[in-house]
């Protein structure tokens, strides 16, 4: 096996992104690069990587087999990956898969005899508003129809190559929206370049912040009462203030861009259309917490986003924003929802299986490479320049007490206008969002239920949606704002099928580290498969609930709850539908 000089040079450069004694962290990057070149990761590639990084081969093999984006056998030249998760299923992705299989004459994960194509289903690609979606290699195709699929495949067959897909036009704002983070993206001619960003006042917050003491920035952010936008809603300023001080170790800032909660596709928009907002937010936050190095952990299924960020970092470097005391590196994931959990992310960043850590200690004390670490979501960090520029008092004029500022929400499922929106928190109800902003349901259907914060959050029935969209109101309604991914279910949806789809996602994404989640998620999936087939038995519903309950609260990380809550809610609120299936 020969690795071209050029590629090895690139690899050697990547390795320098990590501390000299922590180069294991480069494992995922090396896997990506070698797979890109060789088409797969076999014995030779594994041994090459372990030699390069001074690891044992098992260390690399554990990683290769953990992340679904890595393959140990060659795929077809064009790997067609169709999202199978809930929002896309509601939009008919099963038809797309069936059509592709018929057209290409292969089963899932089989290569066509000409070696051109492989079809796989994958979990949520964070494009839920434009489903069904698929990726072919690194390119993304949205709003699929069978005709569109034919055209795409036929074109590849005739030309023998894959065309680069342009970014879609950003969505225009709805009158009820309050766009702060998304304020730039629809401005005429705005490209997200550094020049465009600066023309709109970009990087003035950084200059202002650099003149402030770190403590003053932390105080400002604390005072803004901004809560984390990743899913748990933990106050950001408080998180920063937990950082261990005087340890003599470096502090790291990690941007969590592993957006993978089904129904959520907001961070993708910020990265795609206004990357410098995120970069500026990171630079200010690094100054505030004393970090010299920041990593952006972007999910592997967003190769375009990784390139955009890389380009933005280079632009910022040319201007002296990056590289003068603060470095920012892009670190790509490889297809694991669990990397959205901050300690799973840290393990993954360190080049390991993304096994969430037991806490304590928390990352603020022992985080990345054993050092104090802050992990913040993309949207959270994108708020920081605005808070610094206009002040925390201004920030608090938006939203309601306990939920300050705006929030990006993503709507998917059978509504007339799915997509991403930005609202002041608590100023709009779920009903307004669905019926006024999104235009109500398609095709004269009626509403059956709504998942309000990504598929892990308990579903709400159609009569529960007169609730304002903010952290506390949703909590009081027995669910959570989560990641802002709102999935709408209409009266045509089979709840058992929807529950199965969600259960399948969490079983696939369970890292397998701790017992209840590892065993329980797959058990739930298997039971739901059986019930869906019509082979439900008396007491299955009770058993399903009990299995979910035996996972809930017993696991190392919140994936346990994420898997248990939706099942418990579906079973409780739509029990009759399960019984109809014989369950």
């Amino acid at each position: 096996m020969t690795v071209p000089v050029e590629l090895e040079r690139h690899i050697d450069e990547i390795v320098t992104h990590y501390p000299p004694d922590k180069t294991r962290a480069a494992t995922l990057w090396l896997c990506h690069l070698l797979q890109e070149y060789f088409g797969f990761l076999g014995d030779e590639q594994v041994l090459w990587i372990s030699n390069k990084l001074g690891l044992q081969p098992i260390n690399v093999w554990e990683v290769v087999t953990f992340y679904p984006m890595f393959t140990t056998k060659p795929h077809g030249k064009f790997h067609v990956k169709v999202c199978r998760t809930l929002s896309c299923e509601l939009c008919g992705c099963k038809n797309i898969v069936a059509h592709l299989r018929k057209k290409l004459g292969v089963g899932l994960d089989e290569n066509t005899t000409d070696g051109l194509f492989t079809i796989s289903t994958v979990e949520c690609l964070a494009l839920c508003g434009t489903g069904p979606v698929m990726m072919i290699n690194d390119e993304t195709f949205e709003n699929l129809t069978t005709e569109k699929v034919d055209a795409i495949i036929d074109r590849i067959r005739t030309t023998g190559r894959l065309d680069a897909q342009p970014l879609p036009m950003p969505l225009a704002a709805h009158p009820l929206e309050k766009r702060v983070l998304l304020s730039n993206i629809t401005k005429p001619g705005y490209t997200g370049s550094l020049a465009d960003y600066e023309r709109e006042g970009g990087y003035t917050a950084l200059r202002k912040a650099l003149a402030m003491k770190p403590d003053e920035i932390v105080a400002e952010v604390k005072n803004s009462e901004i809560r984390g936008r990743g899913g748990a809603g933990f106050p950001c300023g408080l998180k920063w203030s937990f950082l261990a001080k005087g340890t003599g170790k470096p502090v790291y800032l990690v941007c969590n861009a592993d957006e993978s909660e089904p129904g959520t596709f907001k961070d993708r928009q910020l990265i795609s259309y206004d990357p410098h907002l995120l970069i500026e937010g990171i630079l200010i936050s690094c100054h505030a917490v004393g970090a010299k190095v920041a990593y952006i952990y972007i999910r592997g299924e967003m190769p375009g986003g990784a390139k955009i960020l890389q380009k933005a970092i280079e632009e910022a470097r040319a201007k002296g924003y990056v590289g003068n005391g603060v470095e920012i590196y892009v670190h790509r994931g490889a297809g694991a929802y669990i990397c959205g959990e901050e300690t799973g992310l840290i393990e993954s960043l360190e080049g390991k299986r993304a096994y969430p850590r037991i806490k304590p200690p928390f990352p603020a004390v022992v985080g990345l490479f054993g050092c104090p670490t802050v992990v913040n979501n993309v949207e959270t960090l994108a708020n920081i320049p605005h808070i610094i520029n206009k002040g925390s008092t201004w920030f608090k004029t938006m939203g309601v007490s306990g939920s300050t500022g705006t929030r990006l929400v993503c709507v998917s499922g059978p509504v007339k206008r799915p997509g991403y929106y930005e609202f002041e928190m608590g100023k709009l109800t779920l009903r307004q969002l669905i019926f006024d902003v999104c235009g109500g349901l398609k095709d004269g259907r009626t509403l059956k239920g709504v998942i309000p914060g990504g598929s892990s959050m308990p579903v709400m029935k159609a009569d529960q949606i007169d609730v304002p969209l903010d952290f506390e109101s949703l909590r009081k309604a027995g669910t959570m704002a989560g990641s802002g991914g709102i999935i709408v279910l209409d009266d045509s949806v089979d709840i058992v099928g929807a529950t199965l789809n969600v259960a399948q996602f969490y079983a696939h994404e369970s890292c397998g580290q701790c017992t209840p989640c590892r065993e329980g998620t797959l058990w739930m999936e298997k039971m739901l498969h059986r019930i869906e087939r019509g082979e439900g038995r008396p007491l299955d519903v009770e058993m399903l609930y009990e299995v979910a309950d035996n996972i809930d609260g017993k696991t190392i990380c919140p994936l346990g709850e994420a898997a248990a809550w939706p099942v418990k809610a579906f079973v409780t609120k739509y029990r009759e539908e399960f019984e109809k299936h014989g369950g």
Partner: protein, 531 residues
């Protein structure tokens, strides 16, 4: 020391525990077992099995910072919303821990059920049966019948992890003890999990199998039947085996062991906890090196080499003792030498030395050490030999035989002097367990027993005296060496020792380092002697 301890309550029992101790260990202090799989006191915390979930609360403090008392007159305790794992929760002052509350029991039952749904439930053909934690806890927390009706996950079965160990991935509960042991203790990062979720599978990378001298410890710490020792597989059900506390005789570390035997046969040796010696580990070299106990070539009868017939003639024990005593009486005391083995017990060496105050040596035995448990000194009792007056320089004896100064030699369990020299001796008496060049040359053979068949002590490289206990009776026809030597000495006019305790008592008078000791003081875990 009040400063280093905390007071807490576990299931209504007051516990005083050292600061920093986890709840599993603290509960042990008051005899409460918190069930667990992944936790192991000598390995880093993994927290993955979730079996040790317990309910932990702290007293509610009033405005005066003192615990609030409820209407029932009891302290008000604020319990957390979630259960916590005992392995990763350290004791705190005032903490209240419930290990048997309905909430805890329900969680444990849930975990047990999860562990069993994909388990093959093949106990009748599983070698771990009888010492399987999964079996034990499912008796306490399992259901009689499984409500799991789906297809189980299938994984590789009966694969060779290496030449010593068989792996059954379907039985594995993914606790990662073996991974952590190989990486952190044995120093070979070679085991890992591949795939993910319910399909996670323990394995090693092909061509990079465990190859340390400590691999078999992962069989001991595997809480289930996933890792089994090829040496012991299908030999015996463990519940038929008798356990005897012993000491590994294969180097000067003196790892504390358990000998597992049934009737006259030893089936395995496993390590026994002793933080001052071997923690809870032992090396594979020592562990496997016990087969000589049941070697079919064992010497089983005293014999004499007949000068007239030119061949060996078997003797009864009384006859053998009588003849040897007669010969020894005739031999000149100053031409008599003894070679003792540093694999012999201190008591045997002490008695042997009485035959020859002038020439007494043992045979050093050196190998490669590893700075962990395996000592370069492969004798288990060189310290005992030196304390009882044996020199490590046995060339004096070889030279003495060569130049005719030494005419009589008693050899205890060694085979080191070349036959040409042995041929020059007027009288050669050998106590041993297996035939060799020395027994071949011997005028008298007196068959002794192995470490597994006798009482006595070894003194290790760190001057710790530790006890052997007989696991099996002496092989028919053999006698423990201290009894043979004692019988000879008695006939020669010395004291007759009936028991090992009597020998030990005399030894403590003659060997200052052992003053004040007796076998019960040494106990199961040994004591350090003055060097």
């Amino acid at each position: 020391m009040a400063d280093n301890t905390v007071n807490l309550t576990i299931d209504d029992k007051a516990v005083v525990a050292p600061k920093g101790m986890n709840l599993i260990e603290a509960a042990k202090l008051v005899g409460i077992e918190i069930p667990h799989y992944c936790y192991h006191p000598k390995l880093c915390i993994a927290g993955n099995c979730r079996m040790c979930l317990v309910d932990v609360g702290m007293p509610k403090l009033g405005a005066d910072r003192k615990p609030e008392i409820g209407s029932d007159g009891k302290m008000v305790v604020m319990f957390g919303p979630k259960l916590v794992i005992g392995c990763n929760t350290t004791v705190a002052d005032g903490m209240v821990v419930l290990t048997k509350s309905p909430k805890v029991v329900k969680a444990r039952e849930g975990v047990m059920e999860f562990l069993l749904i994909n388990h093959p439930l093949d106990c009748p053909i599983c070698d771990q049966a009888g010492e399987c934690r999964l079996q034990e806890f499912s008796v306490d927390y399992g259901k009689a019948e499984s409500r799991f009706v789906e297809e189980k996950v299938h994984k590789p079965k009966k694969t060779a992890l290496n030449a010593k160990i068989t792996l059954d991935d379907e039985r594995c509960i993914l606790c990662s003890r073996c991974i952590r042991f190989m990486r952190d203790v044995a120093g070979q990062d070679c085991l890992g999990f591949i795939q993910r979720g319910s399909h996670s599978t323990l394995t090693c990378y092909l061509g990079n199998e465990p190859k340390t001298n400590y691999d078999l410890n992962i069989v001991d710490i595997c809480p289930v039947g996933a890792l089994t020792s090829n040496d012991f597989r299908f030999q015996q059900r463990v519940w038929f085996l008798k356990q005897t506390k012993s000491i590994c005789p294969n180097c000067a570390t003196g790892c504390n062991t358990v000998i597992w035997s049934r009737e006259d046969v030893v089936y395995r040796q496993t390590p026994r906890d002793n933080n001052d010696v071997n923690q809870c580990w032992m090396c594979d070299y020592g562990r496997i090196n016990y087969k000589f106990i049941n070697d079919p070539h064992r010497l089983t009868t005293p014999s004499v080499k007949s000068a007239t017939l030119g061949q060996r003639v078997n003797l009864t024990w009384p006859e053998a003792i009588r003849q040897v005593v007669d010969k020894l009486r005739a031999a000149k005391r100053d031409s008599l030498a003894v070679i003792g083995s540093a694999r012999a017990t201190t008591e045997e060496l002490y008695l042997l030395k009485k035959f020859s105050p002038s020439f007494a040596a043992y045979i050093p035995r050196v190998g490669t050490g590893d700075n962990f448990l395996l000592n370069t000194d492969r004798n288990p009792n060189a310290a005992g030999a030196m304390l009882t007056g044996f020199s490590s320089d046995y060339s004096v004896i070889a030279d003495g035989i060569a130049d005719g100064k030494i005419k009589t030699l008693i050899v205890l369990g060694e085979d080191a002097i070349v036959p040409e020299l042995l041929a020059k001796l007027e009288l050669l008496i050998v106590l041993d367990i297996l035939p060799g060049k020395t027994t071949e040359a011997a005028h008298y053979i007196l068959p002794g027993v192995t470490f597994a068949e006798k009482s006595g002590t070894f003194i290790n490289a760190k001057n710790r005296i530790q006890r052997l206990n007989p696991a099996i009776p002496p092989l028919v026809g053999t006698k423990p060496e201290h009894l043979i030597l004692s019988a000879l000495l008695a006939e020669l006019g010395g004291k007759r020792y009936a028991t090992i305790q009597e020998v030990f008592a005399d030894m403590t008078r003659d060997v200052p380092a052992l003053a004040g000791l007796n076998l019960s003081k040494i106990g199961d875990s040994g004591v350090e002697v003055k060097s």
